[in-house]
């Protein structure tokens, strides 16, 4: 479950993007920026727990949202494909957090590149055996399930995702919606980073959470961009990932075998022809994201 918590959130981040017709490959970068933001907010301030935890999480979310907004603004107002910009921003984020953790935010008198440990008041407690981060993630995914299905803004997201010209005709500000969706997506990924930092690692290290953001893509596609379905999908991926570690310990099989399994799973989930073979009579839904290069 620990492993799955940030995965639910990054999966949701990619999902919100997909529903709006955006392919956010940058969840990884947004997660890193959110994580280091939350770590900074966690160690730099002294507050009561009840304020400190939300403050650090929100700060991490804001960092993630700001990072994603670069890609969102470029997509909305300059029609630059978000696929490329988010990939580039991932690389920039990796270098940026490495710099931040090795220079300005470095723990003093330590040879390692890492930030100081967060204050106790900012650490997410466990509720029984369940990490409270997981509860937050559950709540957030339920919220987004409701948000995308039942609210006006959620309807705008969906409409822009399905048919931007119809959305435009119906008077929805397409550009504003794209920008907003990207920011929300980034905030969710940043939240994933924040929860991971505050709940598990307790500080930011550059070796932190390799690949959590990329797994978010897999999860969102497995869940067919359904917010509620991200929970089981994230549990599946999280279990595979944590299982891989002990697999290597016991049998010597490299943990990367999980990547291969996931790629194959995805291949069969996303290929409409496979669906048609399996469920001959039922119409299968297809996940679609490509909206062309820069034709907004």
């Amino acid at each position: 479950m620990e492993k799955s918590t940030p995965l639910v959130l990054t999966g949701l981040a990619v999902t919100v993007g997909l529903r709006t017709g955006l392919f956010n490959i940058g969840a990884q970068g947004q997660l890193l920026v959110g994580a280091i933001g939350a770590a900074w907010a966690g160690y730099n301030f002294q507050m009561p727990t009840l304020i400190h935890i939300p403050f650090a999480i929100v700060f991490g979310m804001l960092c993630g949202a700001a990072w994603a907004s670069i890609a969102g603004a470029l997509r909305a107002y300059r029609s630059v494909s978000e696929v490329i910009t988010t990939i580039m921003l991932n690389a920039v984020a990796i270098a940026l957090v490495d710099y931040l953790a090795s220079q300005p935010l470095k723990e003093a008198d330590q040879p390692l590149t890492r930030t100081p440990e967060i204050a106790e008041t900012a650490a997410l407690p466990d509720i029984g055996i369940v990490p409270s981060g997981f509860v937050i993630a559950l709540f957030v995914s339920l919220f987004f399930g409701w948000f995308l299905a039942r609210t006006t803004q959620g309807f705008r997201f969906n409409t822009v995702g399905m048919n931007p010209s119809a959305a435009n005709y119906a008077g929805i500000g397409v550009k504003k919606t794209i920008f907003l969706a990207m920011a929300v997506s980034g905030a969710l990924a940043g939240m994933g980073g924040a929860v991971e930092t505050l709940g598990i690692t307790g500080r930011f290290e550059p070796s932190f959470n390799a690949g959590l953001g990329f797994d978010g893509i897999t999860i969102a596609l497995l869940a067919r961009a359904n917010p509620i379905a991200t929970i089981p999908a994230a549990l599946l991926v999280g279990t595979l990932r944590s299982g891989a570690a002990s697999l290597q310990f016991r049998t010597g099989i490299e943990p990367e075998v999980v990547d291969v399994i996931l790629a194959l799973t995805l291949l069969f989930v996303a290929a409409p022809i496979v669906g048609r073979l399996l469920f001959r009579n039922r119409a299968t839904k297809q996940t679609t994201v490509s909206s062309g290069w820069g034709n907004s």
Partner: protein
Amino acid sequence: MRARYAYTLAIAISAGIIVAFVMDENKTVSVLSFSLRYAVPLILAAMVGIICERSGVINIGIEGQMLMSAFAGFFGAALTGNLILGTMIGVGTGMIMGAVFATGAVTWKMDQIIAGTIINILATGLTSFFYAQGYVLPSITPKLRIPLLADIPLIGPVFFDNGLFTYAALFSALLLWALLFKTIWGLRTRSVGEKPGSADTSGINVQRTRFINVTLAGAFAGLAGAYLAIEAASTFERGLTAGRGFTALAIMIFGAWNPIGALAAALFFGLANGLASQLQADEVIAIPQQFINMLPYILTIVLLAIVSGRIKPPAAVGKPYEKE
């Protein structure tokens, strides 16, 4: 208008290079050679993007294709003890990955971006899984000095004293330009990418053209991967390609889906990087290493922001073709 900016920029850069050459000959040549070597895999990978998108298929799996080819090329060369054989294995792997991608994106009509993502995840997983340490190449890649041409000052040592891959990259850009714009194959490819419906009506098999083109394009990805592992790095590491497949897509857009344009864009990109690392090495600019690492990516974003909207992609790109 755009062309005039491009020419002005090209003349300004050339003038700058000549001034630098007069001031410090050796350093200029070394910076330019570095830039060209940096550009080689980008040129080749951009060719993959151009062939695919001109046929109407978005290929973001170039990164994965390159990674697999680099892996196969390196271990092929190390195990057989033959660099040429290794390169051929790399090229073959690139084409196989191209065919796998085409099966998903063309035959199965999967979403093309998802298909590309799957290729990337698969390549990362497979190459890390089968990765083994302790292999070395049988020999270093020989350089091929072209007589006479290599004696021209400045241009000679930079362009005509290189490994075979560099010539292949430069030549492939020219070749692809001629193929795309001067042959029947090129006309068919472009029509499939612009208006597949009309192409189909006039008797072109859209699905088959796309499948074949995407598979053939894989050969360039294979060459790029083999270059990275065999000539540039002389080794294979996990994640060797380091995002070059994606940078190549930006270069393709910057070059307006034209092989010659992409060649120029890749060279410009290489030059910017060569210059930045030289300035860093000379301690002219004292900025942390991490910011130098960011530079190519930031440059890509900025260039895309400037260029985008003024050039048009092939009209049917990204849409699986459904017969009506």
